[in-house]
């Protein structure tokens, strides 16, 4: 107690300056730095609904949108769509908003029409009448050893806060490694993951790699997938000297390990298209953003 009083006393003795003790957070740190959000708000305020809708869509298509930004963009999209009389779009927007923020509530000043739709949507979510996440991805053909493998997938109705990942391990290894699918620029439903080249080295003998795809929400609940840790798909990495064409099928593989069998039997998301491309260059890079922040003392 005495120490606390002492600290407070010392703190009180510090003369106040013109600058605030805690500078306001950087705009990007509060998650709403998207210029599209500011522009859409202004357009909405000015009654330019069509323009606001286009601006919101541009914001949704932008790469690296944070969850907070997505929530605000979907809120604006829902509101704008209702003003334009497009209840279908408004419903889709509010569904996404509620996936990310189940406790989200509209302001009390919101128009009754919007509040009624919002209440209906919340009821739908409670009774699980929303469309499920769908993952469309093809099995990975046997890759060229020593080269990275890029897997593309189509994911529809992706929940905010959810992650799509490719899990893989060399047969015999205990745990799975994973790489995240990231959204491709300008294509909201197209995602891409890369298995690094160093995970698939060329060796004197062939070896197998087990893998599966999974979309899970923030609570790690599986929303969609293809294969799983108990019944993974498999591809084979051939020795470099006898590396086969990427689509060649190894006839020595047991029937129950055939990826095509599990495509037919176990896939959560059925059908669709995806491509697997082996990169010709191994000099791939990953982006590591860094935030430097000053703590006032």
């Amino acid at each position: 107690m005495r120490v606390g009083v002492c600290i407070l006393g010392v703190a009180l003795a510090v003369p106040s300056s013109a600058r605030p003790l805690f500078p306001p957070p950087h705009f990007s740190q509060i998650g709403l730095a998207s210029p599209e959000i500011a522009q859409a708000r202004a357009q909405l305020d000015a009654g330019e609904f069509e323009a606001a809708l286009k601006t919101v869509q541009a914001g949704l298509d932008a790469p690296d949108v944070t969850d907070d930004q997505l929530v605000e963009l979907y809120r604006l999209q829902g509101l704008t769509a209702l003003y334009l009389g497009d209840e279908t779009l408004a419903r889709a927007a509010y569904e996404k908003l509620l996936q990310a923020r189940p406790d989200f509530e509209l302001a009390r000043s919101a128009p009754p029409k919007i509040r009624a739709l919002f209440a209906k949507l919340k009821e739908d979510i409670k009774s699980r009448r929303l469309r499920p996440v769908t993952l469309e991805v093809d099995p990975i053909p046997d890759p060229t050893p020593g080269e990275p493998v890029v897997v593309t997938a189509t994911i529809q109705d992706m929940a905010l806060g959810a992650r799509a990942r490719l899990f893989y391990r060399r047969v015999g290894a205990q745990g799975f490694n994973s790489v995240d699918f990231s959204r491709e620029r300008g294509a909201p439903e197209h995602y891409r993951a890369t298995v690094p080249a160093y995970e698939l080295p060329a060796e004197p003998t062939s070896y197998e790699v087990e893998y599966y795809f999974e979309v899970a929400d923030a609570a790690q609940r599986r929303l969609a997938g293809r294969g799983d840790s108990y019944q993974p798909l498999v591809f084979q990495v051939m020795p470099r000297a006898v590396a086969a064409p990427a689509v060649a099928e190894d006839t020595s593989r047991p029937w129950y390990k055939s990826p095509w069998l599990w495509v037919a039997v176990g896939a959560v998301a059925i059908g669709g298209t995806a491509g697997v491309v082996a990169l010709s260059s191994s000099g791939e890079r990953g982006r590591v953003p860094i935030t430097v922040r000053v703590d006032p003392q």
Binding site: L21, F22, Y198, A218, E284, R287, V288, P289, D295
Partner: protein
């Protein structure tokens, strides 16, 4: 007076929270570097370096003095900044007007790295003010998982932080 009391109490709470670490898996990315306000007034640039064989390195040792005197250039990865400039040590001029600064570094895909951020003074030649050392388990293509960096350890040393390009 009550406003000052409130601000002072908040300051105390903020100071008490210094040094805590957290891991935010939900965020998109990145790394946080904390710098004291007194050091911030001298800051001229941040120098970002990524070392191979991160698990074999001792961050405590690396942070004691300039990295330049402790590692050879072949231990450093070639980095790229947002403008496409490539170097083994990237410098970012300090711009902390809003109390934060965002940097982006492209790192070769791989694993077992150590990422070191050195705070350099605005003097000429720049002085080493301290550094933050962080283990990077892996770097995947595209955006990478969140990593909250260790706080910057202030240990101004009389050494030359310049690294060979």
């Amino acid at each position: 007076m009550s406003k000052r009391l409130f601000l002072s109490a908040a300051l105390c709470l903020g100071l008490a929270a210094c040094g805590s670490e957290s891991l935010d898996e939900g965020a998109n990315l990145g790394m946080e570097l904390r710098v004291s306000a007194s050091a911030a007034s001298q800051l001229g640039a941040f120098q970002v370096v990524v070392l191979k064989d991160g698990s074999r390195r001792s961050c405590a040792d690396l942070q004691r003095t300039c990295l330049a005197g402790q590692v050879t250039s072949d231990a450093l990865l070639m980095l790229t900044n947002g403008a496409g400039h490539q170097a083994r040590a990237l410098r970012f001029p300090v711009n902390l007007e809003s109390a934060s600064q965002a940097l982006e570094v492209d790192v070769p895909v791989g694993r077992d790295y150590a990422l070191v951020i050195e705070a350099l003074s605005s003097d000429s030649p720049p002085r080493f003010l301290g550094s933050s050392c962080n283990y990077l388990r892996e770097v995947n293509a595209g955006r990478n998982a969140t990593l909250v960096a260790a706080p910057l350890t202030l240990a101004a040393q009389d050494c030359d932080p310049t690294l060979a390009p």
